[in-house]
């Protein structure tokens, strides 16, 4: 093809290519001060040939994100009706919702939907979130939205859990008790009219039942479970046994514990019950444990149904006291726990056992229970208390007069304290503070709830930017 270049031509060619390269780089030097503003992908000029440096000085400059971009989630607590749809559709289970039934309406959301559930816990773990946006799609009141905030790094993984719950732990406990008390009172009135025998006992059992059921709602329940639950209510009514609030602890655990534990529990229970379907065996003392875990896990069925099922199950349990179910349950659960949350399960088992022992309503057991169960145990304690006290105070609203010191330490978890702090970026310091002071009940240093929304991209918030 080409001749081998002569000496002189080689020299000239190398000079030529050198100048060519210099011209190319020289053009870039001359355009060094030309800069287009950072363009978002939606800008029509996004793919136009760029001139000048393409660096984006990030903290000061940001590329515009699409309006429908999916970044950090925000939940408008005022508008949430606690329907749990977002938690159920979430592919990665990053949303944790805990609700309990309110006595009457809690007002309306901004789109006019009536709120019937208290929402003590609405946690979103943005560390798990995969930004699919399904939760925002299913939200009936559009209270759950994706914000344009994408820079929210944290030094502590726990800070990725954003708390949108409506109440502080203190408020939560108080409102629960009040609500349960009022509901119990109402039911008691009903049950008295319906059931002739031991009216007192009946009312107690029901109030307990309801609270337990409510938390269960959040958990996803399989169709079978729902069926069993439905059947159980019937049995309970027939037996009229004194209801006792054991199942509750399970409920709380559900949230915390991963689903894996639950299915195992069910299986174990099944052998006991032999045929868990409602049709086959309406009366069986054993099913209790089974029912509880089930409900906790998959509380899919409508709230009301769940409630009923819970109420039934406890009644059954109480009537024929049988030592088997518990011991069996615990070890089994633990085994199951191997997969993930062994600790939590163990706690649950403990909580259960105390509840069973306590069965006769006693106001005092709380303190004991709390320390053990801590986070998960809460519901059970409350139930017990409710049944015992039964003082029907109608006020559901969020009055906070009685912060109960004891309660707080127990609750520990992450539930935001009373002061609904404005959006403050969750920092490790805050988290540590929150964790430490539990025993000092009343006015704990308010944990700054990390509200992601608060930070606007504009603001140079102290948190992530630097």
């Amino acid at each position: 093809m080409k001749k081998r270049p002569t000496y002189l031509r080689a020299v000239l060619a190398s000079l030529g290519t050198m100048f060519k390269g210099m011209r190319l780089t020289g053009r870039h030097i001359l355009t060094g001060y030309e800069r287009a503003a950072p363009l978002g992908i939606e800008d029509p000029n996004y793919f136009a040939a760029a001139r000048g440096p393409i660096t984006i000085q990030y903290p000061q400059e940001k590329v515009a994100v699409p309006d429908n971009g999916r970044y950090r989630l925000y939940m408008e607590t005022e508008d949430c009706i606690g329907c749990d749809k977002c938690a159920r559709i979430c592919p990665v289970d990053c949303i944790t919702i805990e609700t309990f039934r309110a006595d009457g309406d809690l007002g309306r959301t901004s789109d006019g939907t009536t709120k019937r559930l208290h929402l003590p816990t609405f946690d979103i773990d943005m560390g798990k979130c995969m930004f699919c946006g399904l939760c925002t799609t299913v939200c009936p009141t559009e209270c759950l939205t994706m914000t344009p905030v994408y820079d929210y790094s944290e030094y502590d993984r726990d800070n990725f859990v954003y708390h949108f719950g409506a109440y502080s732990p203190t408020e939560d406990m108080r409102i629960r008790e009040e609500t349960e008390a009022t509901l119990a009172a109402k039911k008691a009135a009903k049950s008295v009219s319906v059931a002739p025998s031991s009216p007192e006992e009946k009312p107690k059992s029901r109030p307990v039942m309801r609270p337990a059921v409510k938390p269960a709602e959040s958990a996803p329940v399989s169709a079978e479970e729902t069926a069993t639950e439905e059947s159980s209510p019937e049995t309970a009514t027939t037996e009229n046994a004194p209801p006792r609030p054991r199942p509750r602890p399970m409920m709380k655990r559900k949230e915390d514990d991963a689903t894996p534990a639950l299915p195992v529990v069910e299986e174990n229970q099944d052998p006991h019950t032999e045929s868990p379907t409602a049709e086959v065996a309406p009366h069986r003392p054993r099913p209790r444990p089974v029912i509880k875990p089930k409900v906790e896990d998959g509380a899919k069925p409508p709230v009301e149904e769940n409630l009923d099922s819970h109420s039934e199950s406890p009644t059954i349990e109480i009537a024929p006291p049988r030592p088997r179910p518990r011991p069996v349950m615990k070890p089994k659960v633990e085994d199951d726990a191997n997969s993930k949350p062994a600790v939590e399960e163990n706690q649950d088992s403990h909580s259960e056992s105390p509840t069973a022992e306590v069965a006769p309503p006693r106001p005092r057991p709380r303190p004991v229970i709390k320390p053990k169960v801590e986070d998960d145990a809460k519901p059970s304690v409350e139930e017990n208390q409710d049944s015992h006290t039964e003082s029907p105070t109608l006020e559901i609203a969020p009055p906070r007069p009685r912060p109960r010191p004891v309660m707080k330490p127990k609750v520990e978890d992450e539930i935001p304290t009373e002061t609904p702090v404005t959006a403050e970026p969750p920092t490790t310091e805050e988290s540590s503070d929150a964790s430490t002071p539990r025993d000092d009940a009343p006015p704990l240093p308010p944990k700054p709830r990390p509200r992601p929304i608060m930070r606007r991209p504009d603001q140079p918030d102290g948190g992530p930017a630097t």
Partner: protein, 382 residues
């Protein structure tokens, strides 16, 4: 004793070189950034102007680490030798008419010699570090600098033959309006009164443009600049002969490197690009008192740009001279940066081949051309 003014002069130039190095490092980073479509330093000061100040402050605060196995004396002495040799070269550079540290008659020879001492400093650093990377870098530096001194010296010789002097002041004068003899553009056009670029060496004698090219390429290698930065090849030798240096000593080596670029730029400017002479020519000749009777258009065509940008009086001429020669030197330094971020590093064999097979023969050819040209010019204008 004239010690005091000399010390003052030395201090001034030392301060200037230090300031220049700060600016050059900043410019280097900006040039590289722009070529790569980046922004470069932007955070410290407006547009990152104080970045290098911050860097040098950091370096000065750092510890001087002495490797245990190092030859302590050589290791400590090397940065001083490197910088001192480069800095001494500045003594013979005429910054303006009559403004220079040492008016040596062999100024150019001295400059070439003093730049070569740099090699000894590099070798001391590489050997004294007792580090294989440093030693390899030093070996490469020595071999390449010695190789490239030959074409550089011969190219300079080709120019010196045209001026007939090794005195840097004489060389500068010969290329400006104040030339002591007639200045012939291309050997026939008398541009003594016109001045400007036409009287610069590379314009008057076009073959000197090639000579300058050879000189420039050779000095790239002497300064260990890309594409001849084998002594510091980061990908192979970490950072070459100064890999063991830290803190102030590293800063001194760095300063010497940039000062060396500046020095060779100055020498090139003096020998090839007119020294402190202005590039702007005087237009039509103007007799005394003639200006009063001319129209605006006539005045424009008779503007004496050359005289305007050279100045009259010692102070004005010094300032203008310093301005022009520094501009030329800085442009040379910029050119070195531009090339560094354009061309990839050559291999060792390519490096030596370029020196011995290309630059040196061409330089000898240019030497011959200069000899013939000078002979013809002298005989033609007798």
């Amino acid at each position: 004793m004239e010690l005091a003014p000399n010390i003052l002069l030395v201090s001034l130039s030392l301060g200037f070189v230090a300031l220049y190095a700060l600016g050059a490092v900043y410019a280097e980073r900006k040039v590289s950034a722009f070529i790569q479509d980046r922004l470069g330093p932007m955070e410290v000061g407006p547009r990152g102007l104080l970045q290098t100040v911050a860097d040098i402050l950091k370096l000065l605060l750092k510890e001087n680490i002495n490797p245990t196995a190092a030859d302590k004396k050589l290791f400590a002495l090397a940065p001083i030798v490197i910088f001192a040799s480069v800095f001494a070269g500045l003594a013979v550079i005429p910054v303006g008419p009559g403004i220079l540290g040492a008016a040596l008659n062999v100024g150019l020879l001295y400059a070439m010699a003093i730049v070569s001492i740099d090699v000894i400093g590099l070798l001391m650093a590489g050997w004294g570090s007792n580090n294989k990377y440093a030693f390899l870098g030093a070996i490469r530096a020595v071999s390449q600098i010695i190789s490239y001194e030959i074409p550089a010296a011969i190219a300079l010789l080709a120019a010196i033959m045209m001026y007939g002097s090794l005195n840097m002041s004489t060389i500068s004068l010969a290329q400006g309006l104040s030339a002591p003899t007639q200045v012939y553009f291309l050997g026939f056009a008398d541009v003594t009164q016109l001045g400007g670029m036409l009287s610069w060496g590379v314009i008057r004698y076009p073959h000197l443009l090639v000579a300058w090219l050879i000189y420039f390429i050779a000095t790239l290698a002497e300064c260990n600049r890309a594409p001849f930065d084998l002594p510091e090849a980061e990908s192979e030798l970490v950072s070459g002969f100064h890999v063991e240096y830290s803190g102030f000593r590293f800063a001194v080596i760095f300063l010497a490197e940039y000062a060396n670029m500046f020095l060779v730029g100055l020498i090139g400017a003096v020998v090839f690009w007119g020294g402190w002479a202005t590039p702007l020519p005087n237009l039509m000749a103007l007799a005394p008192g003639q200006a009063a009777s001319m129209s605006v258009g006539q005045l424009f065509t008779h503007l004496q740009f050359g005289h305007l940008t050279t100045g009259t009086g010692v102070a004005a001429m010094a300032i203008w001279g310093a301005f022009w020669i520094l501009t030329k030197a800085f442009f040379t330094v910029f050119l070195m940066m531009w090339i560094r971020w354009t061309l990839p590093r050559v291999r060792v064999d390519q490096l030596l081949k370029l020196s011995w097979k290309v630059l040196t023969p061409i330089a000898f050819a240019l030497l011959a051309i200069s000899a013939v040209w000078k002979l013809l010019e002298v005989s033609a204008h007798l």
